[in-house]
Amino acid sequence: MISLPLYMAQRISALIMVPLVFGHLALMIHAIRGGLTAEEILGRTQGNLGWAAFYGLFVLAVSVHAAIGLRAIAFEWGGLRGHALDLATWAIGVGLLVMGLRAVGAVTWG
């Protein structure tokens, strides 16, 4: 159910997320010092390809990591097997990726 390639994908995505989580937390603490408004957020993110790359990579790592983790739960607790399990894994991963990238796109170019 979790073979070596999936195991490595989950570990590598976790490694990528570690610095991004700390970066995200630091940004949140910094950003809300003087209150938080939509204008302030969009003022920083709109047209900023650096933040788009930061959160784009974050979304990609989360999609891979969460899809594999939920695959284990779907197999062990949900009883999904075979193609249904693969389909659920892909649906979760692609779903998270699409929703996340849409959000990144919206605050960067929206």
Partner: protein, 241 residues
Amino acid sequence: MVNGDLMEVSVWRGKGSVGAFQRFGVPVQESQTVLDVVTWIQQNAEPGLAYRFSCRVGMCGSCAMMVNDVPRWTCRTHVGKVIHDGQLRIAPLRNLPVIRDLATDMTEFFDKWTAAMGRHAPTASRADPVAPVDPASASRQAADAAIECINCAVCYAACDVVAHNPEYLGPAALNRAWTLVNDTRDGARAERLRAVSGGGGCHNCHSHQNCAQYCPNELVPTASIAGLKRETARAWWKGTA
């Protein structure tokens, strides 16, 4: 309880998955083991009771059963240490199909040993000189830490991953594979690492450590499985996985 008192023993009776617990009153004796209790029932109360044992001294690994819902080697488990409110509840090992009463079908347990390449692949023949193995080397010490498995399947019964994932090779088979990965005389390291990297392989372990908690020989299969995860990851980076 003192000698001669009756303890209340519930024993699983039945074929396959169909059955029920049957109660027996068994006299308490000094230094009595759970296997003694089962044997007393078979010899004095229910001659048709099916169970499995051989050496009675913790060597052969054939007498493991669930005792008050915990997997144990019954020949080395004293009643006084596990009895609860004067009662014992004895059932066949968890996670294995039941043949009859307390006897489980161990086929899948040993098939998984084979699937994990639990067989030594020699690199020399009997005509060659005996291979020197340094007992102080890191690889030999890693193998020694895991080598005393008696195949009792207590870890297999304790493992929640086995319970939820029938494909999972289980702690005993993976622990055995780890001893061979660390055996410098073995010639099938790459194949063995591939054998434990499939859909039921070592990467499914959640490190709950139930196997280490209940192993009667106090082995730590979780550590062996973690070792396999490290070595398979190294092989993956090198492109030999």
